[in-house]
């Protein structure tokens, strides 16, 4: 099948590539752009490990063709830390609050939480849990992931983080 030309912005960088129409966005990111932060977990749009930010939406990149993302502005976990290596508030939150164990779900969790905090700067615990309900974690039981997101929300808003009593 003839390849199609696509151009998009990925983590602030302009990208022009040739892809087969059937190439899924996750395969394009991982294999063609070597961005292996987005993971393939279930490959059936359930687990959220492949979540990226695309034109202001959280998207499961295993369920989109690359050609559909032509012209898009994409951000992956690789685009979260500052150029000097300073972690994004969410990355810092996941480290400080032990929001990960094996780490497989973490890039998807962080990219989903990123969009959630863009839309709701100060979410309640319930709103966080509802907001990350498309991301599965088999290690943590979610407790510390919720705390990590609360930590980041507080840091971004410039208020001290108060851990809720157990």
């Amino acid at each position: 099948m003839a390849k199609s030309q696509v151009s998009m912005t990925v983590n602030g960088k302009k990208v022009e590539e040739l892809v087969e129409p059937r190439t899924l966005l996750i395969h394009f990111l991982r294999e063609q752009l070597q961005l292996t932060g987005p993971h393939i977990g279930c490959d059936t749009s359930h687990c959220g490990a492949c979540t990226i930010d695309l034109d202001g939406k959280s998207v499961k990149s295993c369920t989109m063709f690359t050609v559909q993302a032509n012209g898009a502005d994409i951000r992956t976990i690789e685009g979260m830390a500052a150029a000097d290596g300073t972690l994004h508030a969410l990355q810092e939150g996941f480290r400080e609050m032990h929001g990960l164990q094996c780490g497989f779900c973490t890039p998807g969790m962080i990219m989903r939480a990123y969009r959630l905090l863009q839309e709701n700067k100060n979410p309640t615990e319930d709103e966080i849990r509802f907001g990350i309900s498309g991301n599965l974690c088999r290690c943590t039981g979610y407790q510390n992931i919720v705390k990590a997101i609360q930590y980041a929300a507080a840091k971004i808003s410039g208020v001290p983080f108060q851990e809720a009593a157990e």
Binding site: L24, T63, M64
Partner: protein, 288 residues
Amino acid sequence: MIPGSFAYHRPSSVKEAVSLLGSLGDDARAIAGGHSLIPMMKLRLASPSHLIDLGGVADLKGIREDGKDIVIGAMTTQHEVIGSDLLGKKIAILAETANLIADPQVRYVGTIGGNVANGDPGNDMPAVMMCLNATYHAVGKSGERRIAAREFYQGAYFTALEPGEIVTAIRIPTPAARHGYAYEKLKRKVGDYATAAAAVLLTTSGGKVASCSIGLTNVAETPLWAEEAGKILTGSALDAATVKKAVAAAEAITSPASDGRGPAAYRTKMAGVMLSRALGRAKARAGL
């Protein structure tokens, strides 16, 4: 999983999309949000040779009032339905339903048009559209026609849509300003289809139900409009005995499959439970 090869088309108008569908024939499929079709293609249960992406058709977007109706473009995403002030004010059952569909990521991409047109009995919006007495605008090469949601669903994945036609918009008669509504869905986990679900829209007058419409999800080959149950409730004050009678009438029209969500008898019972819960919430919202 990697889908089979296909040629990709991205029309910019409904006319162009329909003419592509017509000329490419049976091997062509239209793709909206793709969250039903792409998983099928990855499993190679669907392998179209041509994919016609409706994502570039601006006319399929947007939510507007048109006289006594509200018209929702087919490519409006579930996320946009949830965020719409107009829908929140006039037809709040849509956001309540959309929030129970799949998960946040899927709602950013999945569309209301795809949800109603696909014919999957597990989809939630079809029963809600039957409940609201919506009409679908369908466009094919011979022009536009309108199909009532209550007459659209003929079997699992089998609808009144002709080959080469696409649903371009959903037209909903704006419910009375004061109405009660609820969508109750039993599911095993986030992202699951309903074990059973019920949609209710009712209006009241003088302490009685003036009109009541009920839709049921995933308890038959098609979504169901429980016309008889609605009639039983009309004129009542939603007293326990009448609700019981209506629930029995709704249960009587179900014919669910036994599957991982439970045996058929259980799912029928759950349809009744969802209906009585939805009636309870709709009643409170209507101030009855």
